[in-house]
Symmetry: C2
Subunit: 484 residues, 2 copies
C-alpha cells in the first residue's frame, strides 16, 4: 500500500507542477559567492600521488555494457607498465576473481602519458562467477605495497519501477569551486554521475602541461570516480585541436583515458552510445562529432531510439554538452545546429529530460518545442509542447573559466529558472511515473530554496498509459490482498 500512499502525497504536490502550467520564468538574483576561478595548485593534497612505487592512480569506473552487467575499471601507473589485472569479490580483502584488461599510452606534444589500463569486469572471465545485481564488490589493483583497494555497487536489474538516484555534473575543472561541487555531489546520496562534458580543462594549458593537468584531474576526482560509475560525455574542452603544437586529432587525450561501452549498443564510436541502468535508458550524444543526417551518429541514434522500451525502462534521458535551449548570453544559439537535426526526434520519442553543460550557469526550460520552425514559412519560435523534453543546463561544475552571469533580458518564454551559481543536480527516480529533481547550489551554509520539481514520466503520464497503470496497480493490490 506504500506506493499508493506515495501516489496520493504526490498528487497534491503535483498540482503546482511546471509540467502542466507554463508560467513566467524566474531569474534568480542570487549569485554564488565564489572562490577565485583558478585551478588548485599542483602541490595541493587533492592532487596527491598515492604512495608506493608505480602505485595505481586516477582510478575511475564506468558502466561496461548496455544493461549494467559489467564495469570498466581504468587507472594509470606512472612509472612502468605494471599489471592490467583487477582482483575482485564481494568480501573486502578476499578477492576470488581476476579480470585482465589492456594497457595503452600516448604522447601529446612532448608529454608522454603514464600507462593507462582499462579492464572490463563482466563476470565472464571465470566460470564459477555469476554477475550479481545490486551488490557491493570490492576490488584491488596494483601489487605489493603499492596495491590499492576500492569498491563499487552493481546496479539493480533494469525494470520499470526500479528506483535510482543519479547525480548530474558538468564543466567540472579543477578549482576550489570544482572541489566544492564534487564534495557536494558525494554527500547527495546519488549512486551514479551523468557527466555532461568538459572534464579537466587541461586544454587551457600549453605544451606538456596539458597532459599533466589531465593526470592531476584524474587524481582529483578519484575519490568519487573510483567508487561510483561516471557516465561520460565529451565537451568542447575535450577536442584539444592545437595546431601550434601539431596536435590536431580531436579528443585524443579523452579517448585514451575515458572508455565507454559503445560497442554493446552498436555505436561505431566511443563518443556516442547508450546504456540502460535501473529504470532509465540513457543516451549520450557528442555535440562535436558529426550529427547531421546521414552521419554515423545520426544513423545510430535513429536506431537506438527505436530500441527504447519504455515498458522496461520508462525514463528516457539524453546527455549532451552543448545545450539546445539556453538563454544565457554565453553560447546563445550554439545549440541551433543540433536542435535543427534532433529536436523532432526528442519530441516524437517523448524524451523525459535532456541534460547539457557548456554554459557556466544553471538553467531549466519549460516543455517547449520549436519543431514547426521553417525557413520558408510557419511558426518560428518555441511553443509549449507537452511531448517535449525538459532541457536542463548544468554547466556550473566550477571550472577556471568562471560563471556566465549575463542572461538575456527579458527572460525568453521557454526559460523556467536560471541562476549563475555553481552546483550540481540530482534526479531521484521513484518509480515509472515520478522522479524528484533538484538543483543543488554549492555551499549554501544555510538552507536556500533552489530549483526542484517532480518530473512526470513522459510515457507513463499519458492518459492511455495512466489507465493501463491503474489497472496494473489494481491487479497488484488485489493480488496482495489475495495473498493475505
Amino acid at each position: 500500500m506504500k506506493s499508493l500512499l506515495f501516489q496520493l502525497i504526490l498528487a497534491s504536490f503535483v498540482l503546482s507542477n511546471f509540467d502542466n502550467n507554463v508560467n513566467a520564468g524566474h531569474t534568480s538574483v542570487f549569485v554564488r559567492k565564489e572562490w577565485p576561478s583558478e585551478d588548485i595548485p599542483l602541490d595541493h593534497e587533492v592532487f596527491a600521488v598515492p604512495t608506493g612505487h608505480n602505485a595505481p592512480q586516477q582510478v575511475h569506473i564506468t558502466q561496461g555494457d548496455y544493461d549494467g552487467k559489467a564495469v570498466i575499471i581504468s587507472w594509470v601507473t606512472p612509472d612502468e607498465p605494471g599489471s592490467s589485472k583487477v582482483q575482485y569479490g564481494t568480501l573486502k580483502g578476499k578477492y576470488e576473481f581476476t579480470a585482465e584488461g589492456k594497457m595503452t599510452n600516448y604522447t601529446f606534444y612532448k608529454y608522454n602519458s603514464g600507462y593507462i589500463h582499462h579492464v572490463l569486469v563482466d563476470g565472464l572471465e571465470v566460470t564459477i562467477f555469476t554477475w550479481e545485481y545490486d551488490t557491493k564488490f570490492y576490488y584491488k589493483i596494483g601489487t605489493g605495497d603499492s596495491a590499492r583497494e576500492f569498491w563499487f555497487q552493481t546496479p539493480p536489474k533494469i525494470g520499470p519501477d526500479v528506483p535510482y538516484k543519479f547525480g548530474i555534473i558538468g564543466d567540472l575543472g579543477q578549482t576550489y569551486n570544482s572541489l566544492s561541487t564534487l564534495e557536494h555531489y558525494m554527500q547527495s546520496g546519488a549512486q551514479t554521475v551523468l557527466f555532461v562534458g568538459d572534464l579537466s580543462y587541461a586544454d587551457r594549458y600549453q605544451y606538456n602541461d596539458v597532459g599533466i593537468r589531465w593526470d592531476s584531474w584524474g587524481r582529483f576526482v578519484e575519490k568519487s570516480t573510483a567508487y561510483h560509475p561516471w557516465i561520460w560525455s565529451a565537451g568542447n574542452h575535450e577536442i584539444e585541436y592545437m595546431p601550434y603544437m601539431d596536435e590536431v586529432v580531436p579528443f585524443k587525450s579523452y579517448l585514451q583515458r575515458y572508455p565507454t561501452p559503445h560497442l554493446s549498443c552498436k555505436s561505431s564510436s566511443p563518443m556516442w552510445y547508450a546504456i540502460r541502468r535501473a529504470s532509465a535508458h540513457i543516451i549520450v550524444l557528442s555535440s562535436y562529432s558529426p550529427f547531421v543526417k546521414y552521419t554515423p551518429q545520426y544513423e545510430w541514434l535513429s536506431e537506438e531510439l527505436m530500441k527504447v522500451d519504455r515498458e522496461k525502462t520508462p525514463w528516457l534521458i539524453v546527455l549532451m554538452h552543448m545545450p539546445i535551449y539556453n538563454s544565457n548570453e554565453a553560447h546563445f544559439m550554439e545549440g541551433e545546429s543540433m536542435r535543427a537535426v534532433f529536436e523532432e526526434w526528442f519530441v516524437h520519442h517523448k524524451v523525459d529530460v535532456i541534460f547539457a553543460g557548456h554554459v557556466h550557469a544553471y538553467e531549466r526550460s519549460y516543455r517547449i518545442s520549436n519543431i514547426r520552425y521553417n525557413v520558408s514559412s510557419g511558426e518560428r519560435y518555441p511553443v509549449p509542447d507537452k511531448s517535449a523534453p525538459v532541457y536542463i543546463t548544468v554547466g556550473d561544475g566550477g571550472n577556471q573559466e568562471g560563471l556566465a552571469g549575463r542572461f538575456l533580458d527579458p527572460q525568453p518564454e521557454y526559460s523556467a529558472f536560471r541562476e549563475a551559481s555553481y552546483g550540481h543536480s540530482t534526479l531521484e527516480i521513484q518509480n515509472r511515473t515520478h522522479a524528484f529533481y533538484h538543483w543543488n547550489r554549492n555551499d549554501d551554509g544555510k538552507k536556500v530554496a533552489t530549483d526542484s520539481f517532480v518530473l512526470h514520466n513522459q510515457y507513463w503520464s499519458s492518459n492511455l498509459r495512466r489507465r493501463k497503470l491503474k489497472k496494473h496497480h489494481l491487479s497488484s493490490v488485489l493480488k496482495r490482498i489475495a495473498s493475505y
Copy 2:
C-alpha cells in the same frame, strides 16, 4: 581601351540584373526528358579497362597546393603495385622530368582495392626545372606497352583580373544521364571542375560491388579527370557507414582515392581545404564532418577567411555538398545546421557564390540572409541582403537516384530560379568585377534559355572599391596614352 568598352557594354546588361532587383522567383516547368535512372552496365565501353598488363586506370588530377604551382596525379594499377612514377615535360613524347609518389591500397568488406598511386608534381624534385604557369604539360604513367600518356594545363598565376572558366558538377554517378553531363561539361570550354560531392554512388551497392563501382566510376570520368583538375568535395554518398558489413569508418574509399592539398592551407583534414586559382579563392567545406563552434573545421575556416585577399583573388567561392538554401521538398531544411553556424561569416566576408549539390535539381537563390534569426525574438525569415552570397544548387549531375521534381509551392521568396533537369554550371570570370554564370541543361537539342546572369563581385562592386577601381583604370589609361 578594350576593358573600358567591355564595362560599358556590361553596364546596360547589368540594369536588369537580379543583384539589384529582387523579383518573384521563377519555377521552370520544363523537366528534362531523362534516360532511365539506372547505372550503365559494367561491360559498357565507358568503363573499359585500358589494354596492357597492369595498365594505369582511373587517372585523375587535382590542384596540389594553395596557389596552383603543383598538381596531384592519381591512378590505379589493378594487378600489381607497379611504379609510382610520373614522367612529364612540355613536349609530347619528350619527358624531361620525373616525380615519384606513394602507393596505397585498402579493403572494404572483402573487396581488395587495386594499387592506388598519388604523385605530387610540384617542380621541386628537379633542380633544372622551374614551374611554368599557364603551360601545357604532357605526362606519362605506367611502363612498356602499358604506359599511358595524358596532359594538363597549369593555371595562370593568381591575380585580380585573371580570367578563368570553371565548371560546376554535383551528384554525378554513372548513368547515361551522368555521361551526358560529363560530355556536356567537356564541350563547355571550362578549364577546371568544382565538384560539389557525391561522386560514384557506389554506396548504393552492397558488399564487394561497392569497391567495384568506385573503380568503374574512376574509369568513367577519366576522359575528363586525367586532363582537367577536379576540385573535390565530399557528399553523403562518400560516408559509406555500412555496419551490416562492418564498415563504419566515414569516407574510407573517398579518402583513399581522392587526395586534396589540405596541408598547404593548414587544414588538419583532406575533407576541408582551400585553394587559390586564377582570380578565385575557393573554399571547400565538408557537410558531414564536424563544423560547429570549437571543431577543427570551424577553427580552420575562421582563419582561412582572414587569409582571403580580395585584392589578389577577388572571387570568393565556397563549395559544400548540402545546400544552405533549398526549396525542393527533397532535403528541405537539411542545411539549417550549417546555416546556423556559418551564414554570418559568409555574409560578413561577402562570399560571392556558394555552390552545393545534394538536391537532384537546379536552384539559384537571390542574395538573402537569415542571420537575424533568433530563437528568442527578432526577424525570423530570410531577407534581401546585398552582402549575402548567391546560393546555387547543382545536384543534377545525373545519378541513379533520379530527379527531385517536387518543389515547395508557393516558391519561397529567397528562391530565384529552379528546374528539375540534369545539367551542370559554368562560371566564367572576366576580371575582378564581373563573371558570367550559366546553368547548362543537358542535351537540349535546340537552344532553350536556361539560367544565366552576370555575377558582380561582392568586394569590387561596393562603391568604395568602385571608386578605387575607377582611379586604377584612369591611371592605367593615362599610362597607356603616355606610352604612345
